[in-house]
Symmetry: D2
Subunit: 343 residues, 4 copies
């Protein structure tokens, strides 16, 4: 079996999961190198996954690890663009976690460099596209089962227990629209077959005033108009009391598809004095753990088959554009047209 | 509009509901008389429903209320047979709550008298047949939607809060098989198109030892073989912690019909620290309130249209026969064949 | 029992249901008069409900029916305001179907006259408040079960089979925002404890171009900001392929309440080659039939107890204001502030 | 990391899955040998999983593969007992797919040999115990969440598309009770904390007469009494039209736990002209794929930690005993007491 030699950069919570997947669960991948500025993270992957080559400098890894075929980037979002560009220019295939960047300039820089390296496979990780239920919905739409979609309602909602921990993450993550709704934006583009062109966002710090002080929100609602006349309604929340609750509903002319509702943890129903009930999932990772694996497997397969993924850097730029517009709309308390951002 | 003049006997909890339905909700009925040995119950229906003629003697009502067309019997079960026979012999149409009787002799007495009065409409109240979901399941089966049914799983489960109150009712109600499973037995006969011929019942007083001391159970399970080779599994329980839980599942060669699950109170879903949940129904009456109305309306219509109901006294006898066999099987701890009860 | 003598005006589909409820199902009501310009509708209620006094002129009914206590108005919406005003000035209590009117001037006229007749009970029919699940949600909120609500998502969705029939109704009904979303608007005000002050509406004729030609839409989405900083997202659709689908979700700081989902017809689950499935409801009337009864019963009780309902004419005005703003936003393709409508 | 060297015997559909899991998904396992009498199966695992040592003789593998620590047995059931015994006597740890055997003699032979090798880890694969929902139910019971269990209802139901293929498998698999209900039997023992002592089984070939001709059934129902007075109701079916449908319900004194219902394929809800629906799972493997992995991982961990699993060979014998009693009861059409089988 042909195997892909991979180096990973970024070994936080999600980075460690990629390391685990690449070590054990992707048969045609070899995780041969890892990079982090945190010594304890390098120690962890050495001990746990036996990664042979460790780096504290990304440039050094790119330069010295000659047998490496591809780089997997799981750093903080503000470093995505530079990391992608450096990897491409050093000749590697690249997988990068979503979102592409927090501003349009970075996105366009990446697009430009990507265009210069058409023989390098470049993939951005919008993980929901790889979830079996989201993927099945796309298949049903393509088969014409429910007619033509005209409205998408999509929400990204995290459990409240994670909110306190995320307050300091507001800045590096770009706020709730870049961090949460960027997924829903990409789904709107994917399912509705068009691009969002006008948005209005509302929101507030309804439970944790700290998010307000940081210029962010713990809950938002946004409405979007797409170029083809379809519509999208996007919700985001950091304060669900019962669990992670990602849900997407697609309204189409001859039917309706709903994904992820109810957001239950497993197949156990409990009936007792609290009623007839199901327990919720703790985190987005409980919900999308399998999709993360399918996604990185897909990247490896695309490289080995020398095939670019369906989702392009330009798609990723568009998602960031809309997240930027939503952030601006929320802050300036008025509708924002995408075209005005790039003129 | 032609209206039916009705007298009611038995004014307990369920009797009062019949009185309300007949007074307000059945347009072509006049509740003109009521009978109870309890003075306070007569006072109640006089005040609440303005029933003009009140009796403490059933014989007197039958004898004196010359303008009465029909009698509705909601007494305790041990009085059903005599009450039906007296009414028929006095020339009235009869509706009687389920079950027909607690022993076969009473059933056969009623059948004999009924046969002598073919011009009198006689109806036994197996209320589930009138619930819209149960009725719809029968329609789907008749239409052939799911092929041929071969197995029925049916349960009658009450909330535990009503158990203490029912301990003294064990004797007059005939025990859990006559009181609870008689519905499920009738459904087995109705949906499977045959008669139960052999049964084995288990059970125990798992939570309220008092039911054991009274020779009854708070939970039972029974398996039944029908004459046409199909099967039925019947559960009964007095101790649900989350609400009334009547559920029936019909397994057929090309599909499956499930009625009543989950047994939710309304259309409100609550998601909070206890999970994603729905509240249960308190009582069988919350579940079947509308069916009770449809049922008594159906009786009135049948009389006014001079048409016998689908369910005959012989069907009711068969249900009591099986309940008797289940009781015997439970007490003697061995399978019982129905034929052995009537030989 | 003290009974209220009622006259009804408007005997279309919904008017007939009010007539039935008032005749049979509201014990303390007497339907003594009915008015319609359509002779065949008067014939119908005479034959079916035995209504003794029939009028083709509303003025005449108000003038001549001296024993009448209250008027129930179920006319087309454009006649609501005048009908209410005339009834109040003639000294009657008034119940009127929603919405109050299609423009603000009519609403304010009614408010002014209502204020002059504080001894007359005046009630507007926002029926969802009387549905047991919606009412239970309000109780849970008042009890503090889920903390403070900050976002309401609410939709009014009809089955596609009714769309063709409704095209000509666009004009008299005021369009989809006045006809459909006015319920959701009232719920937003009720549950969120504030008033909508700014809206943006999108929409289109995605399946029936005829609605577009009539200046209306078959689907809309709207986002609303309330005075207290909370948010509402409102959807409306005329083209559900599987049934009526009214659903409301309340996001609160410590929990979530969802009402009406899944919008199933009954308690029958069918499993066959099409999957595990439930049938949907045909019409809003299948969904709210019981609430319509509870609502008119409530009106009768309020009159007999001489108590004004919780929902005032001013609340009704506010709902019409927002529906007007949504219509304007949809037509002018930009956000609309409520204050700008009334200045 | 300490790793376990494993040889596998039996490379049918399920065997290949074990090979995949052991190759890729169990980090501390090395699949170093494989045995099958079918040349093409050996070719498959060599090519696909790069298994280095291949055998057509089980004895030879046991004899020659000196670096092997443990054997995983996925042969047909009639070979389980001998394969276990040989492996133990050759000094290997053993994992064997369920059921232990089709007759009691074989079970007792295994128990005897197992007792002689207490230092060898021996594990029987009752996979449901490793499913996260089944495991969570056990935890809830142990925590006392629902009080004391007194009734288990459990069913194993396969999709009808697999029935034709299984007709010839009837003999080697031991029939529907050994092949399907043996799981439910083990769950009854596990959750109810006791052993089944008396059974009555019914059944028939309701859709595929071929099963009847083979002395088997396509549907069965069975009722069981346990030594501690609790009850179990077991269903099995080969003819579900909508998908695999394994479901277990535990009735306890203060609550109810239901596992696996509804048996949906994923988190996609489709609403269209067929209603509001979810698609079902195709096979038991779609349902228990993850549990199979957890299970074999658990075996490897138990060996490396030198710890015997909770489920003993005696438990496995008890399950086979009950399956044998059910088969006898079904064939002889009468209740069977377990004690009578072993005296």
């Amino acid at each position: 079996m042909k195997k892909l030699n991979i180096g990973i950069v970024g070994l936080g919570r999600l980075g460690k999961e990629y390391a685990k997947n690449l070590t054990y669960l992707v048969p045609n991948a070899n995780l041969i190198a890892a990079c982090s500025i945190r010594k304890e993270e390098l120690d962890y992957v050495k001990e746990t996954y036996n990664v042979p080559n460790l780096y504290t400098s990304y440039d050094q890894m790119l330069d010295q690890q000659k047998d490496m075929d591809a780089v997997v980037i799981v750093t903080s979002t503000d470093q995505h663009a530079d990391a992608i560009i450096k990897a491409l220019e050093a000749g590697y295939h690249v997988f990068c976690e979503k979102p592409l960047a927090l501003n349009i300039e970075d996105c366009l820089r990446v697009e430009k460099i990507t265009a210069r390296h058409p023989d390098r496979i470049t993939m951005l990780g919008f993980v929901r596209r790889f979830d079996s239920s989201y993927a099945e919905a796309k298949i049903k739409i393509n088969e014409g089962l429910v007619g033509t979609p005209y409205l998408l309602r999509s929400q990204t909602i995290d459990k409240d227990t994670f909110a306190p921990f995320q307050i300091e993450f507001c800045t590096t993550g770009g706020g709730i629209f870049h961090d949460y709704n960027v997924h829903d934006i990409d789904l709107a583009h994917w399912y509705l077959g068009s691009r969002i062109e006008k948005v209005w966002a509302l929101g507030g710090a309804y439970r944790f005033p700290e998010f307000g002080l940081a210029g962010d929100a713990d809950n938002t609602a946004a409405m979007c108009e797409l170029q083809n006349g379809t519509m999208a309604v996007l919700l985001a929340s950091r304060i669900s009391s019962f669990g992670h609750n990602t849900c997407t509903e697609i309204f189409a002319t001859e039917g309706n598809l709903k994904i992820g509702d109810p957001p239950v943890k497993n197949m156990l129903q409990i009936s007792d004095k609290h009623g007839i009930r199901r327990e919720g999932m703790e985190t987005f990772f409980d919900r999308f753990q399998h999709a993360f694996l399918i996604q990185i497997q897909s990247f490896v397969d695309h490289v080995l088959e020398n095939k670019q993924p369906e989702l392009t850097m330009h798609n990723a730029t568009n998602a960031t554009l809309v997240a930027t517009a939503l952030t601006k709309s929320f802050k300036e308390k008025k509708p924002v047209t995408i075209a005005d951002l790039i003129s």
